[in-house]
Assembly symmetry: C2
Homo-oligomer: 356 residues x 2
């Protein structure tokens, strides 16, 4: 099919990226960060697009964050040259790829246990420039991370003395809405590291939910927001922005109107994912907010339109704001960049599906 020029020529389901909103979101966050002297290192997992990573760096970001080596390789191919990989890297294949990546870009990674440190050291021992390794701290999220300052300092010492590695600081992914607790725990870890004789050049934290409170941190040297570039229903729920700030929507067609209270669209869990993030329903119908996205099959979205049975007809094209933008990006091979009703570009989601 010919490349669509206008949104009404796009076949459904499709991801629309309002490029004006995405750029405004990038600039708003960078301006806020600049105003507070806090460097940003955006997480590209949300968009997985080299073009937007470049926009983020051009706007003033000090580098980018990737969650997988595969994502980082794609970004390095596109010329992004300062990458943090906040993940425990394990295994021969991944360590070989990490070593190759370190030869191409300014790279840092994280570790939260001695086995990961040992693997990194073995892979980098004979390298002239050491690999920069940060210690991941659990500051309330309950995922990865060492549990307290003493453990951070001990692992930091291990990194600092391991051949091929240099201790570069601390990293956390804080629980949403608990930035103060996270900051206190980070401060404790910084103090413990210093007591152990370690310099702590980088203290990196992140998360879009608490983006506008990032300047309140007493120890952070850098912030890693991801979803802020698009925002989504969850972030609107968290008060980070409004529905009118959201840049990613899924364009879908009403394919069935079997009963007055139900409409079926061609965007199901393969387009929107089953992520609820604690919300009721699977998204917001932008053209008909009273319609409730009540369920998802793989290829069918179930809309409850009992509140307004006249709202939707077969063939109507509507846009759904998903609960979680990042996972939607991962499901589509391409996204459509739009400005108003004009299709500006159709871009491959270059870093999607990078499982390793």
């Amino acid at each position: 099919m010919a490349k669509p020029r206008r949104t009404d020529e796009i076949d459904t389901p499709a991801v629309l990226i309002d490029i004006d909103r995405a750029v405004a979101n990038i600039e708003r966050a960078q301006s806020y960060a600049d105003g507070h002297g806090l460097p940003l290192r955006p997480h590209i997992k949300t968009h997985k697009l080299p073009m937007l990573a470049r926009r983020q760096v051009d706007a003033g970001a000090v580098g980018i964050t990737c969650q997988k080596i595969g994502e980082a390789e794609v970004m390095a191919d596109a010329g992004l040259d300062d990458i943090l990989l906040p993940y425990n890297i394990l295994g021969r294949d991944k360590l070989a790829r990490l070593r190759a990546l370190a030869d191409r870009v300014t790279l840092s990674v994280t570790a939260d246990n001695p086995l990961v440190v040992a693997g990194l050291s073995e892979a980098f021992a004979d390298r002239a420039t050491p690999l920069r390794v940060l210690v991941e701290c659990d500051t309330g999220m309950g995922r990865c991370g060492v549990q307290d300052g003493e453990a951070a300092a001990a692992l930091g010492r291990m990194i600092e003395t391991a051949p091929g590695l240099a201790f570069a600081g601390l990293m956390t992914y804080p629980a949403a809405g608990r930035a103060e607790e996270a900051d206190a725990r980070l401060a404790e870890a910084v103090a413990a590291c210093r007591r152990a004789g370690l310099d702590v050049p980088v203290v990196t934290t992140g998360g879009t939910p608490d983006l506008w409170r990032a300047h309140l941190s007493t120890v952070a040297t850098e912030y890693r927001p991801g979803t802020y570039v698009y925002l989504d229903r969850y972030q609107v729920h968290k008060g980070v922005g409004t529905v009118d700030d959201c840049a990613l929507t899924v364009l879908t067609t009403v394919v069935s109107r079997p009963v007055p209270g139900r409409a079926i669209v061609d965007a199901g869990s393969k387009a929107l994912t089953s992520d609820l993030l604690g919300l009721a329903g699977h998204g917001i119908v932008m053209e008909a907010p009273s319609v409730f996205v009540s369920g998802l099959s793989e290829e069918h979205g179930h809309l409850d339109c009992s509140a307004d049975p006249g709202a939707l007809s077969v063939g109507d094209r509507i846009r759904i704001l998903p609960n979680h933008a990042c996972v939607v990006s991962n499901l589509f091979d391409v996204v459509h960049l739009v400005s108003g009703d004009t299709v500006v570009d159709v871009l491959p989601v270059a870093a999607r599906g990078r499982v390793g």
Copy 2:
């Protein structure tokens, strides 16, 4: 990286397909269906692999079912030549692709409303051989479909008289565990169509949950199971097979052991999806069934190992049986076919990501 020869050489996360189990599942279902004289038309959405579609047909299936034109195009490219597309096809681009597809394979589609019938007729009006169209009936699922026999007959008449189309019968996707109700409603629709002077050559129903009760239908002429080829935690819960029959697992590595009760693996929602299907937790750890898959971030699986804190260590490689196999297939670019510990092949998931 070199192609892995043994499972311990596969980098994680990765999808393993136990090819012996998949073939056994195909043969068991075909043998059951043959024994009852009920033709099978397997749904390829579960595996999205031409190789397994071919195996299903070679075992005796009369054709295949695809949910999207994009899936059907991939299967047609691979030589599969009899395809049912049980979906309301709408829109200029899709209708043009459908017309092209109909010139390559024996094709039938479904409709549940007049607008879809009108679009199909316009696209096929000038074609020598009419397109075979079945009426989709809602038999209790509450998704798409006409609501009763009279509506089925009315839409059937509309199809039969529309230029370029031929009424080919009835299709339903029944609610799991409600096959008897579905059968009664299908029988009513068949009777109404016959009263309206329509021949009803095909009555197609499906669903793996009720596969072993398929022979009890009084009207079905064909059955469309999908998940039976791999099975998954949900189907085991439904009693369709045992954990030892399940062919698809996700191989993952323990990357963090932050506290005794928690392990983190490198398979998150990008590998397992958030589909719960009414179950508690996100899968079964095959090597340690007492471990509970309590949560998923995009790149982290959260395992609660309080019941057996010694069960898992950093670096351990384990396999997780997911709740829902079909959506996992859609997330991975390749799957690893294994027989015991031997990697038989690494196949691209050719029909993944076909959103349109």
